[in-house]
């Protein structure tokens, strides 16, 4: 009886074991399935993650009413990961009259005196950068470059004014940039930004009934101010790591 029981138990165990081993055996996936499930880019160069980026920047404002501003400054970023970076940016500005501004100076000199049009003096922002798009492109089918497209949000302050008058304003900013790596440690960055700040656009000089000169400043309004900048990003350390 005992022997029969032992035989039955052993048989049952073998059958169960065989069944279990068969059930746990994973379905063999094809190479194509594994490729489709894997990352789109394998063993990528980690061009950003864990690196500092120092970037001298020049640019100019866009869509200005009366004064256009050339911007010069520097941006310092620390790339926390391949996708995220945090940084500081500081600008100074040199301004000149737009075509409309020049026409007004010519046609209405009595209303437009020096410093009647407002422009940016300097600006500083703390920024967060997110990079969801990375890729490569070939120029003339020969030279291949790595690049990324990134979004920027930040907040800071700017000083704008007319002549010697200066007004400061809180300045939220958002932007979109393209970073093209010319070497593993250097990139050319083109960025389009929107700075939102409060500014009195112009002042108009008029004479009252008694013949006295009266200066009427326009009301300060929150508005969008666009800028296009180009920078040379230098990365530290110069050699990137290679990912899995």
């Amino acid at each position: 009886m005992n022997q029969t029981h032992r035989r039955l138990s052993l048989t049952l165990l073998l059958v169960l074991g065989a069944g279990l081993s068969h059930a746990e055996e994973p379905r063999r996936r094809t190479a194509m399935e594994r490729l489709e499930e894997g990352d789109a880019i394998r063993n990528p160069l980690l061009l950003r993650g864990g690196r500092f980026e120092l970037e001298p920047v020049v640019g100019f404002t866009l869509g200005d009413a009366f004064r256009r501003t050339a911007l010069y400054g520097i941006r310092a970023n620390y790339h926390i990961s391949e996708a995220w970076a945090i940084g500081l940016m500081g600008f100074g500005g040199l301004a000149w009259d737009t075509g409309l501004g020049e026409r007004l100076v010519t046609t209405r000199p009595e209303k437009v005196k020096d410093g009647s049009f407002s422009d940016i003096k300097y600006m500083g922002t703390l920024e967060l950068t997110y990079t969801p798009l990375v890729g490569k492109f070939a120029l003339f089918g020969r030279k291949v470059f790595n690049y990324d497209i990134h979004g920027i949000v930040g907040v800071g302050a700017n000083a704008s004014g007319e002549g010697k008058t200066e007004n400061t304003s809180l300045t939220p900013t958002a932007g979109l940039g393209v970073r093209t790596f010319i070497t593993k440690g250097m990139s050319i960055n083109v960025t389009f930004r929107d700075y939102i700040y409060s500014q009195a656009l112009n002042t108009v000089t008029e004479r009252d009934k008694e013949g006295k000169t009266v200066t009427n400043a326009s009301e300060a309004e929150w508005s969008n101010h666009f800028a296009l900048t180009v920078g040379l990003g230098v990365f530290f350390p110069q050699q990137p790591k290679i990912g899995k």
């Binding site: 094809t30 190479a31 789109a40 866009l62 026409r103 798009l133 490569k136 492109f137 089918g141 112009n202």
Partner: protein, 262 residues
Amino acid sequence: MDRRTWGLATLILFAAPTLSAQEMTFSLDDTGGSADAPAGDPVAGDDGGAMDFGVIDTEEAVKEQARSKRAENDLIRTIQHRPFLRRKRAEFNPFLGSNVNDNLVNLFVAGGNLNFHLTEVMAIGVNGGYALGSETALFDRVIEDYQVFPQISKVLWYGTLHFQYAPIYGKFALFNSWIIPWDAYAVLGVGYTKTELDGHPTLAAGVGQRYFMNRWFTVNMELRDNIFNEEYPSGSELVHNLLFTAGVSFFIPPDFEYRTLR
């Protein structure tokens, strides 16, 4: 025992293990072996009837991994095919857009491109657009503050004949999951622009990008400067009508074939 009995006993003695081994043989499929594995390879061969108790055969696992890697590498061509070919295909590209450099007039533009791609990088085509314009708040402000009526050039429609050259071809990965190929092109053309004031010969120059969604459909954006000489009451002036447009393209024929070397 007689000679016949001895002979039978000898036959059974030698034949029995062989028969037994044949009954326990696993097929190549069962053992995961490969039909083209080299002779003597334990993976492909008969295991002599050994029973599998779920012990991992590390040598077999390594070989399986190597086989898998070879299969993956076979999928990667030495020279990758471009996912999109344009040569001898026509492209129809409706678009919408707006001007970006005039702060006195807003233009809303609807139009289209019709291109024929001579090669993978060169194309000729026509471009045209119809514009609806409106004055901005700044226009009113200038009148109010300075008692001046600003001179503006409001475009009604335009058309150009152009040459397109696409020297940049690239791809990007979205969230490291989807790869989208694209190209970038420069365009140069001549044409005609009709404004509210007059009609003018026009020089067009621009840059654009096409994102390839499948074999016949792309999403496009373009920045194009239509340059003409406007005759204002106070004199003539060169006007840059800088337009940003976004649209889609349909390629005809909708499919293409690779021509490979024989």
